[in-house]
C-alpha cells in the first residue's frame, strides 16, 4: 500500500448505497404515515369537533320587534325602518383588511360623531402594516421582545405621542372602531340611522370593494299616538347602548347578542319573549380568504308577535289629560293624579292614567305606572271592604247591623269621629248601608273593636283589644285586593304599604278600619271595587288582551293567545250581605241622607255607585288631604269601574275627585262604550264574562 489512507471497496458498493437510499425513502414515507395516523385516527375526532365548532357557523340576524296595538287596533308602539350600514365580520379577517375597508367606507360615509380615545387611534393606525412597521422602528430594544410586547409598546408609543389624525382619518378610525369591536361572524351597525341617500348610493356602488359591508335595515321604536304611551309600554335598549348592564349576563346566557335590542321596562320587558320574535339563521360558508361566499338561509326568522292591549288609546289619552289637569289645577302641594278604569268582570284595564307633580316646581311628569307602584293612603274609599269583612266575621249580620254613630274616645288618644259628628252633636243610629252613605268613621271603628273582641265604652283603654285585629282587618281587605298584589301583567307592582302593628300601635287599628293607616295603590282600589261590582270575584287586572302573530304584509295575523280573566279568589258572602254593601254604595250617590258624600255624582248617566275617600296627610310639612274615589257603573249591571286618587290636595279641595270622575265617565261613554249597548238588554258580553268567571 502506497498510501495508508487508500480505501479499498468492493465493486458492490453502489447497489448497497442505492438500497440505503431506498431504505431512507421507506423510512421517511413511513414517518409521514405515522404522523397521518396520529392526526387522522388518534386525533381525528377531536379535530372534527374543532371543525364543527369553528367552520360551520351560523349567522343570526335581527327581526322586527312586535307591534303594540290598543283595543281598537291603533298602533301605539310601532317600528320605524331605517336604511343602515352594517358590517359582518368574516372569519379570520385581518386587521389590515378592516383598516382598508374602514378607509374605503370612510370616503362615502360620515360616521356618527363618537369619542375617539388615544387607544382607538393607536388601534386604527397599527392595523395598517406599513404604519405598524414604521412605529416598530421607534421601539428600542425590540429585538429582545416578543411580537406581542412590541405591539403593546407601539400602542403605548402612539398613546403618549401627539399624533393627530386628519378629519378623514378620524372618520375612518371611528368606522374602524366599530368594526374592530365586532365578534367574528356577527353583524354590527356602522351607522344605524340618518344615512343620507347620497351616502347610500355611493356605498351601494362600491359594496364589492368592501367585503362584509352591507346596506341593511335597522328598526327603532316609534310611537304614532304620542310618546305618553312610553310610560306604559316602556323602552327597549338600542344597539348602541347594548344590553342593560344589570342583566347582561342573564341575557347573554339566553342567547342575546351584546348589541341586541331588549325590552328594558314595563310592557316591553314583561312581554319581551313575545315581542322579540325569532332571529333568522343563516349558515355561512367562509372562503379561504375569510370572506363569506355562500349563505344558506336555514330559518327565515319570525317577526315578533304583536300585543293587543285592553287599553283604548283615545280614552287613555283623555283620562291622562283629566288626571293631569286635576293635579295641575289643584296646585299647592298636589303630588299627582292617578286613575284606573277597568272592566270589573274581565279585569281588562281600559285606561291607566298617572302623572307625578313636583310640588316645589309644579312640573308634571307622565307616570302611568304610578297607578301600580305608588301606594297612597286612600281614606274612606275602603269602607266597603270594612263592612264586608265585618259581615263575614259575623260581628254584624244582614238583620242586625245598626249602631250609633258617636265620637270614639279611648284612653291615651284624642276623640276620633265621623266627619259630620266631631262633637257628638249629630249622633244618630246608622245601619251598614247608611254607614257607607254618610261615610261613618265611627261605625267602622266600632266594627274593628268588635272584631278585636273589645267592648267599647267611652274612655276605656284599648289595651284589652286583641292585636290580631290587624291581621283580621287586613285579611278581609286582601280578599278584595287591598294591600296585596293585584296580579296585573306589568312588572314592578307594589303590594302597598302596611303600617306597624302590635299592642303598642293598637290604636292604629281604628284608623286602619276607615282607610287612614295602610297605603294602597290605585289599581288595588280598582280591583277592590271590581270585586264588589262583579259579585265577589277578585279578578286580576290585565292590559294585554291578545297576542297575535304578524302577517307577511306586517298586519296583525292570527290570534296566538287571548288573555282570559283570572280569578284570584272568591269572596265568601251571601247575596243578602252583598246587597247591604251595594245598596250603601248606591246611596252614596243617590241616597236621601243629608250627609251623603257622593251627591255631586248623581248627575252622571247611567247612574253609578261609588265610595269617596278623604285621608288626612302631611305633604312637605303642610296638612293636606288625599281625595280618592272608587265607583262602578251602571249600578244595576256594572260594566266599568273607575278608581282614582289625588294626593296632596289642600284641605278645602272637597270634590276634585268627583269632578275628575264625572269627566272620566263622560269620556268612557263617548269613546269606549256606547250607551245604546245598555238599552239593549241582551247583555251578551256580561253573560259571557260571568261564564268565564265561573269557569275559572
Amino acid at each position: 500500500m502506497k498510501n495508508p489512507k487508500k480505501i479499498r471497496r468492493p465493486k458492490s458498493e453502489l447497489p448497497f448505497r442505492l438500497n440505503l437510499i431506498f431504505f431512507v425513502v421507506f423510512a421517511l414515507l413511513l414517518l409521514l404515515v405515522g404522523q397521518l395516523g396520529y392526526l387522522q385516527i388518534l386525533y381525528g375526532s377531536k379535530l372534527q369537533a374543532v371543525v364543527n365548532r369553528t367552520d360551520n357557523t351560523v349567522e343570526t340576524n335581527n327581526v322586527q320587534r312586535g307591534v303594540i296595538y290598543d283595543s281598537t287596533g291603533k298602533v301605539l308602539v310601532g317600528n320605524t325602518a331605517h336604511q343602515a350600514i352594517s358590517y359582518t365580520k368574516g372569519a379570520n379577517v385581518m386587521a389590515q383588511d378592516m383598516f382598508n375597508i374602514a378607509n374605503t367606507l370612510g370616503k362615502y360615509l360620515e360616521a356618527n360623531d363618537t369619542e375617539l380615545s388615544r387607544t382607538d387611534i393607536a388601534n386604527y393606525l397599527l392595523a395598517d402594516s406599513k404604519n405598524s412597521k414604521y412605529y416598530e422602528k421607534k421601539i428600542t430594544n425590540r429585538e429582545n421582545l416578543s411580537s406581542k410586547a412590541v405591539q403593546e409598546k407601539e400602542i403605548d408609543y402612539i398613546k403618549n405621542s401627539d399624533i393627530k389624525l386628519s378629519s378623514k382619518e378620524e372618520n375612518a378610525a371611528r368606522i374602524f372602531k366599530i368594526m374592530n369591536g365586532a365578534y367574528q361572524l356577527s353583524t354590527v351597525y356602522i351607522k344605524e340611522t340618518d344615512v343620507s341617500s347620497k351616502e347610500l348610493s355611493e356605498i351601494g356602488e362600491h359594496l364589492s370593494e368592501m367585503p362584509g359591508v352591507k346596506i341593511s335595515t335597522s328598526w327603532t321604536r316609534s310611537y304614532p299616538e304620542g310618546n305618553d304611551i312610553k310610560s306604559l309600554a316602556g323602552t327597549v335598549s338600542s344597539s348602541k347602548t347594548g344590553l342593560p348592564s344589570d342583566e347582561v349576563n342573564t341575557l347573554l346566557a339566553e342567547g342575546y347578542a351584546r348589541n341586541d335590542s331588549v325590552g328594558q321596562s314595563y310592557l316591553e320587558k314583561q312581554y319581551e319573549s313575545v315581542l322579540k320574535g325569532t332571529k333568522s339563521q343563516t349558515a355561512i360558508q367562509v372562503s379561504s380568504g375569510g370572506q363569506i361566499v355562500k349563505k344558506v338561509q336555514q330559518y327565515a326568522g319570525k317577526k315578533g308577535d304583536n300585543l293587543v292591549l285592553t287599553i283604548n288609546s283615545k280614552f287613555q289619552e283623555e283620562v291622562q289629560k283629566i288626571m293631569k289637569e286635576a293635579s295641575k289645577n289643584a296646585g299647592g302641594q298636589s303630588t299627582g293624579g292617578y286613575a284606573v278604569v277597568m272592566n270589573p268582570k274581565t279585569g281588562a284595564v281600559i285606561a291607566l292614567a298617572g302623572a307625578d307633580r313636583n310640588p316645589s316646581t309644579g312640573k308634571m311628569t307622565d307616570n302611568v305606572l304610578g297607578t301600580i307602584n305608588e301606594p297612597i293612603v286612600m281614606g274612606s274609599v275602603v269602607k266597603g271592604a270594612t263592612i264586608s269583612g265585618a259581615l263575614m266575621d259575623g260581628v254584624i249580620t244582614p238583620s242586625n247591623n245598626t249602631l250609633i254613630d258617636e265620637p270614639i274616645k279611648v284612653a291615651g288618644t284624642g276623640s276620633k269621629s265621623s266627619w259630620f259628628n266631631s262633637t257628638g252633636s249629630a249622633n244618630m243610629s246608622v245601619d251598614a248601608s247608611r254607614a257607607l252613605e254618610v261615610s261613618s268613621n265611627s261605625y267602622m271603628m266600632q266594627l274593628a273593636m268588635k272584631e278585636g273582641g273589645f267592648k267599647y265604652s267611652s274612655g276605656a283603654s284599648l289595651s284589652g283589644m286583641n292585636p290580631n285585629v290587624f291581621n283580621k282587618l287586613r285579611g278581609y281587605f286582601e280578599q278584595f285586593g287591598l294591600g296585596t298584589k293585584t296580579g296585573i301583567d306589568l312588572p314592578g307592582e307594589s303590594s302597598g304599604f302596611k303600617g306597624p302593628t302590635g299592642s303598642a300601635n293598637i290604636g292604629k287599628a281604628l284608623d286602619l278600619s276607615f282607610g287612614n293607616y295602610d297605603a294602597y295603590t290605585t289599581i288595588q282600589v280598582a280591583q277592590y271595587m271590581s270585586t264588589i261590582a262583579n259579585g265577589g270575584y277578585r279578578v286580576a287586572p290585565h292590559v294585554v288582551e291578545q297576542i297575535r302573530s304578524s302577517k307577511q304584509n306586517g298586519k296583525m295575523g292570527a290570534v296566538q293567545k287571548t288573555v282570559s280573566p283570572t280569578v284570584l279568589n272568591q269572596v265568601d258572602m251571601t247575596s243578602a250581605q252583598r246587597k247591604l254593601v251595594t245598596d250603601g254604595l248606591y246611596d252614596v250617590v243617590h241616597g236621601s241622607n243629608k250627609y251623603k258624600t257622593g251627591g255631586p255624582l248623581a248627575g252622571i248617566s247611567p247612574g253609578i255607585s261609588a265610595k269617596t275617600g278623604t285621608a288626612q296627610t302631611t305633604t312637605n310639612g303642610k296638612t293636606t288631604v288625599t281625595l280618592s274615589l272608587a265607583s262602578y257603573a251602571p249600578s244595576n249591571d256594572p260594566q266599568v269601574v273607575v278608581a282614582l286618587a289625588l294626593p296632596g290636595l289642600s284641605t278645602n279641595a272637597e270634590s276634585d275627585n268627583m269632578t275628575a270622575a264625572k269627566k272620566i265617565y263622560a269620556a268612557y261613554w263617548k269613546y269606549v262604550q256606547s250607551k245604546s249597548t245598555l238599552t239593549n238588554p241582551t247583555k251578551a258580553t256580561s253573560e259571557t264574562a260571568a261564564q268565564n268567571l265561573n269557569s275559572n
Binding site: 498510501n3 489512507k5 487508500k6 480505501i7 471497496r9 465493486k11 458492490s12 458498493e13 453502489l14 447497489p15 448505497r17 442505492l18 440505503l20 437510499i21 431506498f22 431512507v24 425513502v25 421507506f26 421517511l28 414515507l29 414517518l31 409521514l32 404515515v33 404522523q35 397521518l36 395516523g37 392526526l39 387522522q40 385516527i41 386525533y43 381525528g44 375526532s45 377531536k46 379535530l47 372534527q48 374543532v50 371543525v51 364543527n52 369553528t54 367552520d55 360551520n56 379570520n92 385581518m94 429585538e143 429582545n144 416578543s146 411580537s147 360558508q285 367562509v286 372562503s287 379561504s288 380568504g289 370572506q291 361566499v293
Partner: protein, 404 residues
C-alpha cells in the same frame, strides 16, 4: 435472477416503455386533477372551476410531450446536453432576478417567477433536472478518473460537487426562495451518498448536520436565539413559520392560520375521509402547496396512505430501472430524481400535517402549477429514456459498460 429472464423475454418495442413508471404518475395525475377540482369548487377565485382544472390538464399534456421528447435522448446525448442545460438553467436563474414578476413577488415575497401574460413560469423548477444531469456527469467523470479512492480524493470529489452546486443556492437565496434551495441540498446529499464517498466522511458529516439542525431549532424556538439569528440576517416570517410549526394551535389568526386549517382539514378526514368533494374546512391557497389537505379531508387516512404508496411505488420502480440498466451515469441521474421527488413529497405532506415547517414546496404531480409539473415530468422523461435506450442497446449489442 428474475430481471435477467425478463430482459430476455421482453424484446419487442413496447416493452421498452416502462409502464411501472407510467402507472403511478397517471394515478397521481388523476388524483391531482380531482383535488384541484375540489379546491376550486370550494374556494372563491376569479378563474372558473373548469378553467383551473383544464389548465392543469394542459400542463399534463405538455408534460407528456416533454417526456416523449426526452425519451429520444440516449445516454450519450444526455451526457453532451448536461453542461448546456445546466448553463441555460443558471442563465434563467440570473435573468429572473431582474425580470421577475412584480405582482407575484408582492404576493409571495419570492422573486422567482417569470410572468408572460397569463402564464407564469418558475425557472428553478426546470433547474432541478438540469442540475441533476450536470451533477451526474461531474460524479461519473471524477469517478472514472480516480482509480484509487482515498479520503483525500473523496474530499476533492465533494469539493468539486460543491463548486458546481454553489451558484444555485446563492441565486435562490437572492430570489428569497428558501424552500427550493432545500430541494437542491437534498439532491446534493443523496448524490454524495451514492457517489461512493467513504463512510469516514459521510457518518461524521451526517452526525454534524443533525447536531447543527437541532441546535438551530433550539435557537429559533427561544427568544434569545431568535434575536441572535436575526442579527445573522434571518427574517421574522421565517421564525413565525417555525413557531407555528411547533405550536400549531397557538396563533391561528395570522401566519399560523393556514397550517392550523390544514391540520384540521386532514385530521377531520379521519380514517375513511368525508367523501369526494366535501370540504368543511377552508384552507387558503390549497390548490397548490396545500393540496394534500384536500386529499386528507376527502379520502382520510386510507386515501392518504394510498397516495404515499403511489410515490413509494414510483420510487421503487425508478430504483428498479437503475438495477436493470446498470449504468453509473444513469444511476446518479435516477438518484437525483428520487431525491427530488422524495424531498418534495416528504416536505409537502410533512408541512401539511404539522410534521415540518411551512415552505413553498408543491406536491409532485398533484399540486396545481405548471413549472413544478414540467420539472417533475422532465425527471420522469429521463427515467423513461433509460429503459427505452437500454433495450435498444441490448438489441444492437451496444450495451453500455456498467460500473456496478
Amino acid at each position: 435472477m428474475e430481471r435477467m429472464n425478463s430482459r430476455v423475454a421482453r424484446k419487442d418495442d413496447s416493452s421498452r416503455i416502462d409502464y411501472g413508471i407510467i402507472f403511478p404518475v397517471l394515478m397521481l395525475a388523476i388524483i391531482g386533477l380531482a383535488s384541484i377540482y375540489v379546491a376550486a369548487t370550494h374556494d372563491t377565485s376569479a378563474t372558473s372551476i373548469l378553467r383551473q382544472v383544464v389548465s392543469q390538464l394542459v400542463w399534463y399534456v405538455l408534460g407528456i410531450v416533454i417526456v416523449t421528447v426526452i425519451m429520444q435522448f440516449d445516454s450519450k446525448q444526455l451526457w453532451k446536453l448536461a453542461p448546456i442545460v445546466y448553463g441555460i438553467g443558471l442563465l434563467l436563474l440570473v435573468l429572473v432576478l431582474f425580470l421577475y414578476s412584480r405582482a407575484y413577488a408582492a404576493n409571495t415575497g419570492a422573486k422567482s417567477w417569470f410572468a408572460l401574460g397569463p402564464f407564469t413560469f418558475q425557472p428553478s423548477e426546470v433547474m432541478k433536472p438540469a442540475y441533476i444531469l450536470m451533477m451526474a456527469k461531474v460524479i461519473t467523470v471524477y469517478n472514472s478518473k480516480v482509480k484509487e479512492r482515498t479520503v483525500r480524493s473523496d474530499w476533492k470529489l465533494i469539493g468539486t460537487m460543491i463548486l458546481w452546486t454553489l451558484p444555485v443556492p446563492i441565486l435562490l437565496l437572492l430570489q428569497h426562495d428558501f424552500g427550493t434551495m432545500l430541494v437542491f441540498i437534498a439532491i446534493f446529499a443523496g448524490l454524495v451518498v451514492v457517489s461512493g464517498v467513504t463512510w469516514r466522511i459521510l457518518v461524521p458529516s451526517f452526525v454534524g448536520m443533525v447536531v447543527l439542525g437541532s441546535s438551530t431549532l433550539m435557537l429559533v424556538a427561544t427568544s434569545w436565539g431568535q434575536s441572535f439569528l436575526s442579527k445573522l440576517g434571518f427574517e421574522s416570517y421565517q421564525f413565525a413559520r417555525i413557531d407555528n410549526w411547533l405550536h400549531p394551535a397557538s396563533d391561528t389568526t395570522n401566519s399560523g392560520y393556514q397550517l392550523w386549517q390544514s391540520m384540521k382539514a386532514i385530521g377531520s378526514g379521519q380514517l375513511f375521509g368525508k367523501g369526494f368533494n366535501v370540504s368543511n374546512v377552508n384552507v387558503p391557497v390549497r390548490e397548490s402547496d396545500m393540496i394534500f389537505s384536500v386529499i386528507g379531508e376527502n379520502f382520510g387516512f386510507v386515501g392518504s396512505v394510498v397516495l404515499i404508496g403511489l410515490y413509494f411505488l414510483l420510487i421503487y420502480k425508478i430504483i428498479q430501472v437503475i438495477f436493470d440498466t446498470k449504468n453509473e451515469f444513469y444511476a446518479y441521474i435516477a438518484v437525483g430524481v428520487i431525491m427530488m421527488i422524495l424531498f418534495h413529497v416528504f416536505e409537502n405532506i410533512g408541512m401539511n400535517i404539522g410534521l415540518l415547517p411551512l415552505t413553498g414546496i408543491p406536491l409532485p404531480f398533484v399540486s396545481a402549477g405548471g413549472s413544478a409539473l414540467i420539472g417533475n415530468m422532465i425527471g420522469v422523461g429521463l427515467i423513461m429514456s433509460m429503459r427505452y435506450h437500454y433495450y435498444s442497446y441490448s438489441k444492437t449489442g451496444l450495451e453500455q459498460k456498467a460500473d456496478f
